[in-house]
């Protein structure tokens, strides 16, 4: 099993993961938003990076997950910036 599918299987189970086509939309296939959020956090934890909003948008299909994993393994994700700054005012 590929790395991306293996990560997904940790969250939604291997049987459900095996039924997902590579290009199928995960949400329409029944993966819930909580699982998608946990997948994002799992990727961040495993690869020690903070995913950008653009990275997160790739987590729509198994193919998208694989592409992101490939980039993360190649060191291509960038830790996102900055601690919180205080709220500004006039």
């Amino acid at each position: 099993m590929s790395t991306g599918r293996a990560l997904l299987a940790e969250l939604i189970g291997p049987a459900f993961t095996a039924r997902l086509g590579a290009g199928a939309d995960l949400v329409r296939s029944g993966v819930n938003s909580g699982d998608l959020v946990r997948l994002a956090l799992l990727l961040e934890e495993r690869y020690g990076v903070a995913l950008s909003a653009h990275d997160l948008e790739e987590l729509r299909t198994v193919d998208g997950i694989e592409a992101l994993v490939d980039r993360l393994e190649a060191g291509g994700a960038v830790r996102s910036a900055a601690d919180a700054a205080p709220i500004q005012s006039d």
């Binding site: 939309d25 909580g34 909003a53 948008e57 919180a84």
Partner: protein, 333 residues
């Protein structure tokens, strides 16, 4: 406020002590112990400690385990600082864009949105649907496609309709020039974030659409905030309105904000709650709060629907029925 159990760690004790529970008459949805554990991401012992410490129990299930209000569970998690509750994780993922450079919030982005509408009244398949349309044009975007379909037929889970849209959303930077409105906006943020005179919590629909009720409880979220702010800005002599929208991303969330016609004649966006949610993630870009004073990002869909009103209505058995709407958005290259 609840009393605090000694069995809890400090972070959960603080979260429980600060919780303003949903009044019993406004309870609309309860969750089982298993569901609560999934939302909180905590141990069974912690959940038992929360209940022992005063987390209200809404009833008991068939096997004698407590049922708890969904919003109470979400809100305890939201303030737990555990980093694993669903409310915290969802906010962190939803607002990831707010940590990025401001130029990413601006300009055009294309999105495909899919919407599912489920009428909660079963047994009455007849009746038409009234479904709000997306209005990306209010921020200079466009709706290139919008198609509705009645998925037809009823089921034990209600009656379905669906819609799909191809939108071009435009992130626009608009600076508020009216000093009085700028002052009101920053007072709001200070009240919520610094002074904590209003506490941000998720609220059931029956509270969030009644701003005075929410204010009386010392609570705020996007719908009640937009309605209150509309009233305040109108009292200052400006034309103002509210709008329902969705913030798109890996998870898409329904949202609401206020719009007003500024001294320069241009409509501006007032969205203090989005600034609050971003701030709570601890990662917001320093310019994001100012951005929420006048501007709108290129992942926010405006709908033709005021705050607090349903995006869809099913006219069944002679009266509009409650409809649950789910919206998902995917960026289109």
């Amino acid at each position: 406020m609840a009393t605090v159990s000694r069995a809890l760690t400090d972070q959960w004790s603080v979260a429980l002590a600060g919780l303003v529970p949903v009044p019993a008459r406004h309870r609309e949805r309860v969750v089982s112990q298993v569901e609560a554990l999934g939302i909180l991401g905590c141990s069974q012992a912690t959940l038992e400690g929360l209940v022992e410490g005063g987390l209200p129990v809404a009833g008991m299930d068939a096997v004698g385990e407590p049922l708890i209000d969904f919003y109470d569970i979400i809100n305890v998690g939201l303030y737990s600082g555990s980093g694993v509750s669903l409310g915290e994780l969802g906010g962190s993922v939803l607002m990831r864009f707010a940590a990025e450079p401001p130029d990413r919030w601006l300009g055009k982005r294309r999105w495909e949105i899919t919407c599912e509408y489920r009428c909660q009244a079963t047994g009455f398949p007849d009746g038409g649907w009234t479904i709000a349309r997306p209005r990306p044009d209010v921020s200079d975007g466009s709706c290139d496609e919008w198609a509705r379909s009645q998925a037809g037929g009823g089921s034990e889970r209600g009656f379905l309709a669906a819609a799909r849209g191809l939108l071009e959303l435009q992130g626009v930077h608009r600076q508020v020039v009216a000093p009085a409105v700028r002052r009101v906006f920053w007072e709001w943020l200070n009240d919520i974030v610094v002074g904590q005179r209003l506490r941000f919590q998720w609220l059931p629909p029956s509270i969030r659409s009644e701003p005075e009720l929410a204010r009386g409880l010392g609570l705020i979220e996007c719908v009640s905030a937009s309605l209150m702010l509309e009233t305040e800005v109108r009292a200052l002599g400006f034309e103002a309105r509210t709008r329902t929208g969705h913030v798109l991303g890996l998870v898409s969330v329904e949202h609401a904000w206020t719009e007003f016609r500024d001294d320069d004649g241009q409509w501006k966006f007032l969205d203090p709650i989005l600034a609050v949610v971003a701030q709570r993630t601890g990662r917001a870009h320093p310019d994001f709060a100012e951005f929420c004073l006048g501007s709108i990002a290129n992942r926010v869909v405006p709908w033709d629907c005021p705050a607090g009103e349903a995006l869809a209505v099913h006219h069944c058995h002679g009266a509009p029925s409650h409809v649950v709407t789910k919206v998902a958005g995917a960026a289109v290259p």
